[in-house]
């Protein structure tokens, strides 16, 4: 696996709509971020799932943020909005996670990823890599719906 990029993944599984809604609400409460976009994203996610579309469950892992070159939390909020209905973020240690998104504040990329060897890991080290992640998610979901 390259440091910035991803490994090929096992297939995306279906999650029941109720579980996805609970996961979304849990995440929102956990972060205590009652931003409008997150709530709208969660509702939209629920509706999409209810309609039968797949969502990718992504375990979110940040580096420790000792001296980040950009706002990592804002970047994740942006991804949450852009990928509303397509992904669900959960804590990295949740068993539902199908892959890990590691959000690293600088090219040193020192987040401890040792425990994720069984999962595909996508690493973002600069804001421009957010678009690559969006493409990755969209491709992955497209491939799976074509299957």
């Amino acid at each position: 696996m390259s440091k910035s990029g991803f490994k090929t993944s096992p297939c995306t599984q279906y999650l029941c709509p109720a579980k996805i809604l609970i996961l979304e609400i849990f995440h929102i409460f956990l972060r205590l971020k009652f931003s409008l976009s997150a709530i709208l994203g969660a509702i939209e996610g629920f509706i999409t799932t209810f309609k039968g579309n797949r969502q990718l469950v992504v375990g979110l892992k940040y580096c420790g943020g000792c001296n980040p070159n950009y706002d990592r939390v804002a970047l994740v909020a942006y991804l949450r909005q852009r990928l509303a209905g397509q992904i669900v973020f959960v804590r990295y240690d949740q068993p539902e996670a199908e892959m890990i998104l590691a959000v690293e504040g600088c090219p040193t990329a020192c987040a401890d990823l040792a425990s994720f060897e069984h999962l595909p890991v996508f690493i973002i080290k600069r804001p421009s890599e957010a678009e690559e992640f969006i493409m990755y998610v969209e491709n992955r979901l497209n491939e799976q719906s074509a299957e």
């Binding site: 940040y62 580096c63 943020g65 804590r91």
Partner: protein, 480 residues
């Protein structure tokens, strides 16, 4: 792990004997002078709860396997040491002051090495006791005061030679169930925000001083422990209503003289008892870890550089080439400090106990730089800030109708910026370079973890001059 709220509640349950301005402090947690320092420690709990800082602030305990706050961790590899340095910078930047929790972490790590070594040499069982104590600290996510510095009286005399034997903390009685100690520890960082106090000897010792070679840990509110708060310049501004004149509206630090007036210590909390041959090793290990801990000054430096750049922008001077160059110089000095604390961690090694310790030469070089660079960074910040940072009137004068209009008019800088914001950033620079935070950023940089000469002695000892001479002689063609 505790939340910040649980930490605050846990402090309320302590019954500490604290004095300040000649009076007993009944409610330590809510005292306006002390409160900002409690906020700074609470921040170490808050950051540990946040996913975006968790990778630095928390770690898996090697004892229990549970996730713990890194401030209670024993370093298990080089990555742990590096993350400790990063945590110092992160916390320094988040609080702009001393967050007080490193001394305890450094004491725990030093004791993990030395208790193991004493056991190996003497067949004692200190290490087992220590691990039990460590587990208690980790499971309860406690703050420990690391108490090394004795008052020391006449600096030219050994502990047993002092006119008053209590000028170094010592054992006065041995009982079946424990020992009784008397003495004091000076300059104790975060003492009244701590659940525990870990005592260590202050210098290497000889047989004549064996009563002084003692290390132990006690709950902070043990009977006979008395705290007398140190004061800081501008401290009473915290009693005023407004926040502007404080500079740092939320956070601060504190130090105290901690008196041990015939205090009983049960055996299970004693980690060194008259093994004077190991006092020097405990001091050296603690000091090396703590010299690394001054990574915190890099984080505070980040705040000061940010404040200086902002002040320049508010003054409309940010494009001047000399201002730009001064900001570059401040960054150069600050990142040079960072190089030191990262390199001593990266070059760390494993001790027989399994604990990783920093490279001691590099840790001392780092701390020696810390005794100098924050002063130069402060000088440059004051240069960029202009004289107003020490001549501006009080917040109340900005609020008063008779004076406020004049201050608004004549203290305006860049017209896009509210005058009060300009005042706020200048007060922060004052706070860091002359006010309450200068205790941590300047004088503590000088003396904390040992005065400059202490590092020079270590540098002389560790600098491997033999290898340097050999290289020089080889290249010069000298064959001896």
């Amino acid at each position: 792990m505790m939340t910040p709220q649980q930490y605050e509640e846990s402090l309320r349950k302590l019954n500490l004997e604290v004095y300040m301005f000649g009076k007993r402090v009944q409610n330590v947690v809510d005292d306006p002078i002390i409160r900002p320092s409690m906020n700074a420690v609470a921040k170490t709990y808050e950051m540990a709860q946040r996913p975006e800082y968790e990778d630095i602030m928390t770690v898996k305990s090697h004892v229990t396997g549970k996730r713990i706050n890194r401030f209670t961790h024993i370093h298990q590899n080089v990555d742990d040491l590096v993350k400790k340095s990063k945590m110092g910078r992160l916390m320094g930047r988040a609080t702009g002051c001393c967050f007080q929790r490193c001394v305890g972490m450094d004491a725990l790590n030093a004791l993990s090495i030395v208790t193991f070594d004493i056991d190996k040499a003497k067949g004692a069982d200190y290490y087992k006791r220590f691990i039990k104590y460590l587990t208690y600290v980790q499971e309860n996510d406690l703050v420990c005061d690391g108490a090394m510095t004795d008052p020391k009286g006449n600096r030219g005399l050994a502990p047993h030679q002092q006119a008053d034997p209590d000028l170094f903390l010592h054992v006065v009685e041995e009982r079946k169930d424990g020992i009784v100690v008397r003495g004091a520890k000076a300059h104790q960082t975060g003492a009244v925000n701590s659940h525990e106090i870990i005592v260590m000897p202050t210098i290497a010792m000889r047989a004549e001083d064996k009563d002084y070679a003692v290390s132990f840990a006690l709950p902070a509110d043990t009977k006979g422990i008395i705290y007398i708060m140190g004061r800081q310049s501008c401290d009473t501004r915290k009693l005023e209503e407004g926040l502007l004149d404080r500079g740092n509206a939320v956070f601060g630090g504190h130090e105290a003289l901690v008196v041990f007036d015939n205090v009983f210590v049960p055996w299970e909390r004693v980690f060194m008892y008259k093994e004077y041959e190991f006092a020097g090793s405990l001091v050296e290990n603690f000091a090396s870890y703590h010299r690394q801990s001054y990574a915190c000054k890099v984080g505070v430096g980040d705040v000061l550089i940010g404040a200086a750049q902002t002040a320049a922008e508010y003054n409309g001077a940010e494009k001047a080439s000399h201002v730009k160059d001064k900001i570059i110089e401040m960054n150069h000095l600050n990142e040079t400090l960072y190089c030191g604390c990262i390199s001593c961690a990266s070059e760390g090694h494993r001790e027989p106990s399994g604990t990783y310790v920093v490279d001691k030469l590099l840790a001392n070089v780092h701390k020696q730089n810390v005794t100098r660079f924050p002063y130069e960074i402060s000088r440059l910040a004051q240069d960029i800030a202009g004289g107003l940072m020490v001549t501006m009137p009080a917040e109340d004068d900005f609020k008063a109708p008779a004076t406020g209009k004049w201050l608004e008019k004549y203290y305006a800088g860049n017209c896009d910026v509210p005058t009060l914001n300009r005042m706020r950033i200048l007060r922060l620079i004052e706070n860091l370079t002359l006010g309450t935070a200068a205790v941590g950023y300047l004088t503590e940089s000088m003396h904390g973890a040992g005065s400059p000469q202490a590092q020079r002695i270590m540098i002389a000892r560790l600098a491997n001059l033999g290898e340097k001479k050999k290289a020089a002689k080889t290249l010069a063609g000298i064959d001896e």
